[in-house]
């Protein structure tokens, strides 16, 4: 019997679970790593083996290249999948894997480095003949004088964006509408970028008005084949962080789709890209598009592409890393079958400015039925740690048409229950019913503008009947509690007859 090839997954949460599923389906062994607060996390429980790598703070665990490489070597893993976030776009990690004889499931360290710097990536795109958003060519030195930055800002024009060179996930990014706000924006962006990425460098980019964020997923093998996929529409953002993604986009004509896909492939080829990656574009009102940046990793929103194409991107990442040739029919990759929408479900209180609300997920009820994909990283009984992103799950729905997908989304959001913590579910229920969302009339500023207009108004205004219901439920729960009938935590302590006995006692 040959020893089974093992993959170490250098991540946690839903993406670690997602990668393990692909490994399992390919017959590959799975090695998890976990921090102290993740001892009972789903990714640990689903792995064949799991190794502790340190305390909760990411800097002491999931960002520790040395420890992770050490576990990979000791466990006999031959591949390392970084997921997204943490070390996924860290070229030192990719290099350390290579140095230890491990195959990094992703692009080469040099491709990561080139595309990881937003300013360098813009140069690559220009070299590939792809238009870029007007902005600064090079990042500002840490001690660049305000006057120099202000001059550059004037050249680009307001409104503009301050962006971290090493940015991602909306961190280290600030919108500046007038010169007066520039200096403060630079300061907060630098501070946030420094603490989030260990790199405080920032640059400026013109803020395109009424633009949509459209991106092209692609796969590239080690033999030079690059396959771009049908686009994802990611314009529903809060503070530059994607909230809802869908595929295809309502805003793309077929010629634009093809042109954007070709541009994406050209950028990937220019940088000698391998594995899965995404080229992000801004599409303006005239239908012109501009290169924004490249994500040299699997993205959070990859499932919508999988759902509309039927192609498993993570399996392909692994197969490419194992040296296989990409044999996907390019026509199929670019042709959506139906429509898919993803919501990123967070443990945040939408009525408190989306403040994180970590805590114990006491119970979960995840919807099923047709057209639902559940990519979850949390099981009932898990305490969402304070140290990481508070995403609980990705919810992906699909339908024959966008209208069917949206009516399904509403149904599914109504069914979805996360008990014990506040989540963004009420927000999504509100959003799914917004006329602009339903008609597809939105751009990247849509959500922030709308939220600003709402001035913190609750997403669900409780009616008087609701308040009665709440009072009734609270009083009943208190009653059951007083009668020791475990209201709210009804999972009985033993088999059926014991429960039956208790039910009897209640009569």
């Amino acid at each position: 019997m040959t020893r089974r090839t093992k993959v170490l997954i250098a991540n946690r949460g839903e993406i670690a679970v997602r990668v393990m599923r692909a490994c399992r389906e390919l017959g590959l062994g799975t090695v998890a790593v976990y921090s102290e607060c993740d001892r009972t996390a789903l990714h640990v429980r689903l792995a064949d083996e799991a190794h502790a790598i340190g305390p909760g703070p990411a800097a002491d665990s999931y960002l520790r290249i040395d420890k992770i490489v050490d576990v990979a070597v000791r466990s006999g893993a031959s591949l390392v999948h970084p997921g997204y976030g943490f070390l996924a776009e860290n070229e030192d990690f990719a290099q350390a894997c290579a140095d230890a004889g491990l195959t990094f499931v992703g692009p080469s360290p040099s491709a990561i480095a080139q595309m990881g710097s937003k300013t360098a990536a813009r140069r690559v795109a220009t070299a590939a003949g792809v238009p870029v958003v007007p902005g600064t060519e090079d990042p500002f030195a840490d001690d660049a004088p305000d006057a120099m930055i202000a001059a550059e800002a004037r050249r680009i024009g307001y409104p503009l964006l301050v962006k971290a060179v090493a940015g991602g996930g909306g961190k280290g990014m600030r919108t500046v509408r007038s010169p007066a706000d520039l200096s403060a924006a630079i300061q907060t962006a630098r501070s946030e970028a420094g603490s989030a990425f260990g790199d405080a460098a920032v640059y400026l980019e013109r803020l395109l008005l009424k633009a949509r964020h459209i991106e092209i997923q692609l796969l590239a093998d080690t033999f030079g084949t690059v396959v771009p996929f049908v686009e994802r529409e990611c314009s529903i953002q809060r503070r530059h962080q994607k909230v809802v993604e869908e595929s295809p986009s309502l805003a793309l004509t077929e010629p634009t789709r093809r042109a954007m896909a070709e541009c994406a492939a050209a950028v990937a080829r220019t940088v000698g890209y391998t594995s899965a990656g995404t080229i992000e574009f801004l599409l303006d009102e005239d239908g012109d598009f501009y290169f924004l940046e490249m994500n040299t990793r699997l993205q959070v929103e990859h499932p919508v592409t999988e759902v509309v194409t039927g192609i498993d991107l993570v399996q392909w990442q692994l197969r490419i890393a194992l040296g296989e040739r990409l044999t996907i029919d390019p026509a199929r990759a670019i042709t959506p079958r139906g429509h898919a929408i993803e919501c990123r479900l967070y443990a945040e209180d939408p009525d408190q400015g989306f403040m994180p609300s970590p805590g114990l997920v006491r119970a979960l009820s995840v919807p099923g039925g047709p057209g639902v994909r559940d990519d979850r990283g949390v099981a009932a009984g898990f305490e969402i740690p304070l140290f990481y992103d508070s995403m609980i799950a990705k919810l992906i729905v699909s339908g024959d048409s966008r209208a069917e997908a949206i009516s399904r989304l509403s149904r599914v959001l109504d069914e979805y229950r996360v008990i014990g913590v506040r989540t963004t579910l009420p927000f999504f229920r509100w959003l799914a019913a917004r006329p602009e969302f339903i008609s597809g009339q939105f751009d990247t500023t849509y959500l922030d503008t709308l939220l600003a207009e709402r001035k913190g108004q609750a997403f669900v205004e409780a009616t008087s009947d609701d308040a009665d219901d709440v009072a009734i439920v609270a009083a009943l729960a208190a009653w059951f509690r007083a009668h020791q009938a475990s209201a709210g935590v009804a999972t009985p302590a033993a088999g059926g007859w014991r429960r039956a006995a208790r039910t009897e006692a209640l009569r």
């Binding site: 229950r417 008990i419 308040a467 009665d468 709440v470 208190a478 209201a487």
Partner: protein, 168 residues
Amino acid sequence: MKFEVDVAGRQRTVGVDRAAEGGKFRVVVDGQVHELEAQPTALGLSVVFQAGGRSLDAAATERSGGEWLIQLPHLDVAVVVDGQRHARGRQNRAGADGEQRVTAPMPGRVLRVLVKPGDKVEHRQGLLVVEAMKMENELTAPKAGTVTEVAVTEGSSVEAGRLLVVIE
């Protein structure tokens, strides 16, 4: 049994009486009678109202000091049962009168303090910025008023429930 339930600042008096048969209840909310069947589930409570058969799948998570998080299918609401309000009160009880104690909803680090005692603040004006989970979060005033106390300084780490600012 009688309970006083504080829902968003409004007190309701709820009488709960179990009917003869198991699981059937007579619940009186401020004088209005509801005949219903309530059964515990793994999620919380499955409630069916006799009149019309309305079905309500609700959850109740006990915090402490009589505070519960009640989750209806479309709504999350924190309530206090029997008025034994815990020190760790709700931050945002907009519209309520009297002293408002703004507490940290989660552990984090105070990055910036934007007000000082004596400042007049608008409803939803920023009070301080707390970094938590790698994001900067601005805590805002739950009502218009005057800052009477700022209990933290910039750079300090705070636990969940820690008093930050008092507004009157």
